[in-house]
Amino acid sequence: MTDYDPNDDIQDERIRALAASHYNAPEGTVPRDAMWEQISAARRAARTSPAEPAAPDATVIPLAPRRGARTIVVWRWSAALAAGLILAFVLGRELGQRDGTTSSSHIQLAQQPARSAGPTDSAPSIPPGPSTGTPDVTQRTPGAAPRRVASAEPVRPGRATGAEVAARDSVAQTLYRAAAIQTLVQAEAVLTAYRGAESGASDPQVMQQSARWARDVLSSTRLLMDSPAGRDPRMRALFSDLELVLAQIVQLSGTPLQASERELIDRAMRDRDLLPRLRSAVPAGLAASS
């Protein structure tokens, strides 16, 4: 142990003064406005994503120890949703065949919500027949892509009743919702796995696996953004943010991750609060579909 030396106080004061005036001393001005722009942009993004319960989720992020169990749960959900998706698909086909549509009825089904998502949201999206006098949807949307024109092949009059059309719409909506949720669940699993691999960032195999996995989910994300599921602004914002982060993960080549790359991905995830938003969107989506 050292004895007290009165000279220590003199040295401490000298060191303190020197540190205050020279060690990373303030110089220049604080870039207030530049920082505020970033902050308010992030705040606005958060406000336009009501699925994100801000305060509690911030404390959810560090739940790393549950990672293993969570991944298992995620894949159980995923399997269940895949089964639901197939069931919804089969139902959709069944209904389509019952009202005499062609074998491409599932394509037609997939287009319906796209047409019904406009201002006439509550109206049946399939032209009900000549008795109502409703014009063909394709005539109202001349800029529609050719594949839509092909899929909007007129349904034979008198075949589909209003109830059947409504049922088909409902099945299609369920189908899209299920697909969206399934993708979100998979995305969450990818991001969780990526965060889990953070400590093993030097392992090329882990990084390659994350990149492959992210690529699969990314393709689904893009498809969903262009589908009626992407018309929900909340979902669209989530898919858009997801796409950005997944694209960054996809670029991982399996070589040891550079600090700047990881920082970029981490920041993108953190700034967008992606995991909390995903976690809150998934149960909300399920609740809505049940």
């Binding site: 050292t2 000279n7 220590d8 003199i10 040295q11 401490d12 000298r14 060191i15 303190r16 020197l18 540190a19 205050a20 020279h22 060690y23 990373n24 001393a25 303030p26 220049g28 604080v30 870039p31 207030r32 530049a34 920082m35 505020w36 970033q38 902050i39 308010s40 992030a42 705040r43 958060a46 406000r47 801000a54 305060a55 911030a58 550079q258 600090a259 990881r262 920082e263 981490d266 920041r267 953190r270 700034d271 609060d273």
Partner: protein, 180 residues
């Protein structure tokens, strides 16, 4: 408008109140972040993170404590976590971790006191460095440091004492001049 009212309005999502709180505290947060990082780009990033997190979690803030103290707890957390990430890839961690590795070099080989001081502070263990900078340089109390770092005022005092001792040793060859 007082801070209590501003925080209440910010809790309701009032952007003007958020801006007012930002204006009142941004300089302090930025310069603390700069003092601890020594890089303007990091200080800017960390400051943004601090305010984004603060406004996201403002529902957790209880008005019985000063908003500034609550904000500085977030600042410390953001800066220290951020610095750990940066340092992890900076390949200087080993040097920064162990203050004992600081050797007293001869004045002739490195005459610049300011540079020696900077190296000595950088070489302090994280807790000591944070406490030294917050207490001796930025003027925080031990209670505030304890709250911000998730320790106690006693721990803060102990770390400050260790930090000062290490700095005295590291700069011992200048001591004669100072005492005179």
């Amino acid at each position: 408008m007082d801070e209590r009212e501003l925080t209440a309005r910010a809790k309701r999502g009032d952007e003007a109140a958020e801006r007012a709180l930002y204006d009142a505290h941004v300089d302090r947060v930025f310069w603390v972040a700069y003092r601890m990082t020594g890089r303007r780009d990091l200080a800017q990033d960390f400051t943004q993170d601090v305010f984004i997190r603060a406004f996201e979690r403002i529902g957790d803030y209880r008005a019985d404590a000063p908003f500034g103290a609550w904000l500085h707890a977030i600042t410390t957390s953001v800066v220290l976590n951020g610095l750990r990430k940066v340092k992890r890839f900076d390949q200087r961690e080993a040097v920064l971790e162990e203050a004992a590795a600081v050797t007293v070099r001869s004045r002739e080989s490195e005459p610049d006191l300011k540079e020696r001081l900077a190296q000595a502070i950088d070489a302090l263990p994280e807790g000591c460095r944070t406490t030294f900078l917050m207490h001796d340089v930025e003027g925080f109390t031990h209670e505030e440091i304890g709250a911000a770092t998730g320790t106690t005022a006693g721990t803060s005092k102990a770390q400050l004492s260790r930090a000062r001792a290490k700095l005295r040793i590291a700069l011992a060859d200048f001591a004669g001049d100072w005492i005179e």
